[in-house]
Amino acid sequence: MSTINFSAREINFKIVYYGPGLSGKTTNLKQIYDQVPAESKGEMVSLATEDERTLFFDFLPLDLGKVNGFKTRFHLYTVPGQVFYNSSRKLILRGVDGIVFVADSAPNRLRANAESLRNLRENLQEYNLRLAEIPYVIQVNKRDLPDALPADMVRQVLDPEVRVEAFEAVASEFQGVFEPLKAVSKLVLEKLAQKT
């Protein structure tokens, strides 16, 4: 749920990158951090293990700019993808405004994608939220893998009725990184405009 801060004249949104372990959620945030101009970003915080796997979350604040005297800000988070960190994933979803689901194109991760999406639905339920009610897009990542599954096949598992936008990406090469973020940001802003 977006937060308005009248004293600082800010509107804040929380966007969460979700998906199975090693699908590239942290890579997305690192690329965004590298590509966004300094005046539009804050510090990136990563709570990771020694082998650079996300332990709790990564965090990156972005400033979109000022409209009608209000600064519009997006706080980007990743969740830890590994199955046993579910408690952490649940905590990060608190107050979520938009979701980028980062799917892995590797054939042996097809099931992990589906399980992660099911896990997302379950965790949202803890906050009485339904995925269908939240601005949400899919990023089909790692399109450069030699044995990458067809993007449509990955999508078919996650969104058989083609209800949400999907983007192909090679996040490590900064391909298809801004597009899903821009799309979900637009959906989040549209939702706010509809509700007020």
Binding site: S2, N5, F6, S7, S40, V45, F70, L91, L192
Partner: protein, 166 residues
């Protein structure tokens, strides 16, 4: 949905700000911040003598997440929450108190401030802020998110992320 986590504006904001200033002066702490439980900064105060704080966004996010994790640990033991959240390093420490269901008051202090004093005046500030919020009769200002606002934000998105297909 758009929600102010706390109704902080106008006279209410002025009063809360003055309570935070009083807290810093009496406790000898460096900074006092009100953050919401999602990790957004709602308002903050810095003592005149205190060094520049680290990134407030990072601080608020880490404190709110740490609080959530501590509450989850308490729940594992059948507790609704731990009563106190104190972090103490050799030079700097933080003390945290709940402020209603949606926000937290965080006091950051250094070795020149006694923990007991920080706790005492932080608890007192929480009571005072609760009373101000309870007695506030101000209504939230209306913010219009019209077509013009939508077009402007879309232009900003194009500016930041490029104007390609989204």
């Amino acid at each position: 949905m758009l929600e102010p986590s706390l109704d902080l504006y106008g006279e209410t904001y002025e009063k809360v700000d003055s309570i935070l200033a009083d807290l810093l002066s009496k406790s000898h702490a460096r900074y006092a911040m009100i953050i919401d439980r999602k990790g957004f900064v709602l308002t903050h105060r810095r003592a005149l003598w205190a060094p520049k704080p680290p990134s407030l966004d990072s601080l608020a996010t880490l404190i709110a997440s740490n609080y959530s994790a501590n509450t989850a640990i308490a729940n594992l033991f059948g507790e609704s929450a731990f009563k106190e959240t104190v972090q103490q390093g050799s030079e700097v420490g933080t003390y945290l108190e709940e402020l209603g269901e949606k926000a937290l008051l965080v006091t950051v202090f250094d070795s020149s401030a006694a923990l007991g004093r920080v706790k005492l005046f932080t608890k007192k500030a929480v009571e005072e802020i609760r009373a101000v919020l309870r007695d506030s009769k101000e209504e939230a200002p209306k913010v219009e998110f019209d077509q013009e606002w939508s077009s402007s934000t879309e232009a900003l998105l194009d500016g930041l992320f490029g104007s390609g297909k989204s």
